[in-house]
Amino acid sequence: MAIRERLSGNEAVAYAIKQINPDVMPAFPITPSTEIPQYVATYIANGEIDTEFIHVESEHSAMSATIGASAAGARALTATSSCGMALMWEELYVAASDRLPIVLALVNRALSGPININADHSDSMGARDSGWIQIYAESNQEVYDNFIQAFPIAENANVHLPVMVCQDGFITSHGVENILLVEDEKVKAFVGEYEPEHYLLNPNEKMAVGPYAVSNYYMETKRAQREAMIAAKQVILDVAKKFEEMTGRKYAFFEEYRMEDAEYAVVIIGSAAGTCKAAIEHIRNTTGKKVGLVKIRVFRPFPEEEIAKALSKVKAIAIMDRSEMFSATGGPLGAEVRAALYQAKCNAEVVNYLYGLGGRDITTDDFETVYANLEKMAQTHEPIGMYEYIGLRTEQAKEAE
């Protein structure tokens, strides 16, 4: 029987860590992820887990020590947010190219400046090219479930890539919700004992990690990473299938919500999907208009063809980005989804909005405006407010209406 609980997203991740009982966790405090290492330290202090905590002096050292521990043959993880991840940026690339199955519990928070502690995706979106698998969550339940699936994906012999398990700062990390926890022994069986093949402390084989590779080898290492990322797609689905068999909860690359007959669709990542779903129910109940949502769960590897297929029957699409990339044409999700649609020769009208930067709320009213814009765009064939910010407090806000 699943265990009914009420937990915050941070508590849920910490609880998953406790159930997995990993070997090494180096971590450094930063809001809003700090609670995760705090809870783990408490489990350790009370003898509930065998994990060794390394009290590193920075996030750069947190990822460096995680890399050292993982290369040595330990199951290793860390947690961070925002500037903490920015400080470990260099190491993200090293972890991926060393093909280490590290898991990072990322609590998404805006990057400075100005300094801001609230949710947006500028931290993980900036790291989208670092070679990490990225899995996002809408709710506490999802981040817990994603975390349990992370090591089996990362450690799969066809993958061997690090995994970033993302949740929205404060909204998910600190908001307490009802949650269904999986029993300890089931989690342990699902994640399994870690048995690395090649590692520094292997008594039967010496190993050297982190070479200098000049131009006659570097390119092949990148190609190998790409192949692992492609292979990860099937592994992510296989692990999700096994997870569904254990819990009944279904996961894929993305969730399609009321998409079966949808004419107007929003594409979004993270907790704002919940608000969007409420708007969809309200619109459908009051107007009967066919509105739907594609909520991205897996952003790396990017499920390009699958997303294009899911959107193939709609008339107009709003791609919603929670981070800027200052291309002056849109956000990262907008760029990738638009590319996917172009490749699939999709004729739907497309608009890319930015919302929720630095924790700015997005409301059901905002989503109703978005869907109203989509309906107009389908008629006029003109985007309304391309690359505009939703929910600005200034006069600029009117441009998107």
Partner: protein, 312 residues
């Protein structure tokens, strides 16, 4: 810790743990440091060797060849301390869980750029936490891998590519950072500062103590760089001898907070003797710079007296 009498021939006959065929320069001090530190490992003990980015790393582990007979990890420039912390912690957990039976020792090498400067924070963290590892700085007094740029280990007045001696410059302005003392202030059980003596006994015994003293240990090894310093590669032992006999590079150790002088020259030589054979100090011997040699001497004298007081 067991102390055995030093037998030069025996020590030098131990199997090499840094294989020949690496790409370090002829006469490189860094390589001599690595070979001799690794000799201090008991033959039956396994080791994981760490390495900050630098000359040593790019020359000893160029894919697909490694020169190390032991497991080895390079991560980046500024994090050799943190990386080995992770390896050592993994070892403790896996040992506790019964997954590893062998005894492993953990030794990481960094140049002075990767140790005194960019890797200073990571080193300080590793020392403060007390991981059972040895951090060895092969100190050649500049960023040699990128072409002799000034570091905080570069001696005052040295001509480097970022502190060039010129018509209005006499080389580096500041004096060296005293890193061994700073690490000693972390209250780690063992800190040693050394260089190459004629029989390598000082380096060997300090490496042995550093490796086999439980807890964090730091070794600072002056490792001359013929290209960066500007002397004939064959003269390395003379340069080291002059560094210790002028008291420019004192050899000492700090064991559980107790400072011990390892060598006091019978006759302390003037600093010119150390400066003269090196291209990087050539400008000091121009007429207009004469007083700078005096200032260099004053600094050496001051630090030497301070050290002797600490060791009393």
């Amino acid at each position: 810790m067991e102390q055995t009498a030093y037998n030069f021939k025996e020590v030098m006959s131990k199997p090499e743990r840094l294989a020949p065929g690496h790409r370090m320069c002829a006469g490189c001090g860094g390589t001599i440091t690595v070979r001799n530190v690794l000799r201090a490992l008991k033959e039956e003990d396994k080791a994981v060797i760490g390495n900050a980015t630098g000359c040593l790393e790019v020359s000893s582990f160029m894919y697909p060849y490694t020169a190390y007979e032991d497991s080895y990890i390079h991560n980046a420039f500024e994090n050799a301390g943190a990386t080995l912390s992770g390896v050592e912690t993994a070892y403790n957990v896996l040992k506790k869980k019964g997954k590893i039976k062998d005894t492993y020792k953990f030794i990481t090498f960094g140049g002075d750029g990767g140790t005194y400067d960019i890797g200073f924070q990571s080193l300080s963290g590793a020392m403060e936490r007390g991981h059972d590892l040895v951090y060895v700085c092969y100190d050649n007094g500049a960023y040699m891998n990128t072409g002799t740029q000034r570091s905080s280990a570069t001696p005052q007045y040295a001509d480097t590519t970022t502190t060039p001696a010129g018509t209005v410059s006499a080389g580096k302005v500041q004096v060296r950072k005293d890193l061994a003392a700073i690490i000693a202030e972390h209250h780690v059980p063992y800190v040693g500062q050394t260089t190459f003596t004629s029989n390598f006994k000082d380096l060997y015994t300090k490496a042995q103590k550093a490796i086999y003293t439980p807890g964090a240990a730091f070794l600072n090894v002056m490792s001359p760089c013929p290209r960066g310093w500007g002397y004939e590669p064959s003269e390395i032992m003379t340069i080291c001898k002059l560094a210790t006999d002028t008291c420019y590079w004192p050899m000492f150790e700090v064991i559980d907070g107790k400072w011990i002088l390892s060598y006091e020259p019978k006759k302390k030589l003037p600093i010119e003797d150390f400066l003269k054979p090196q291209r990087r100090f050539k400008h000091l011997f121009k007429k207009e710079n004469e007083e700078l040699i005096g200032k260099f001497q004053e600094e050496v004298d001051k630090l030497w007296e301070e050290l002797k007081n600490r060791c009393n």
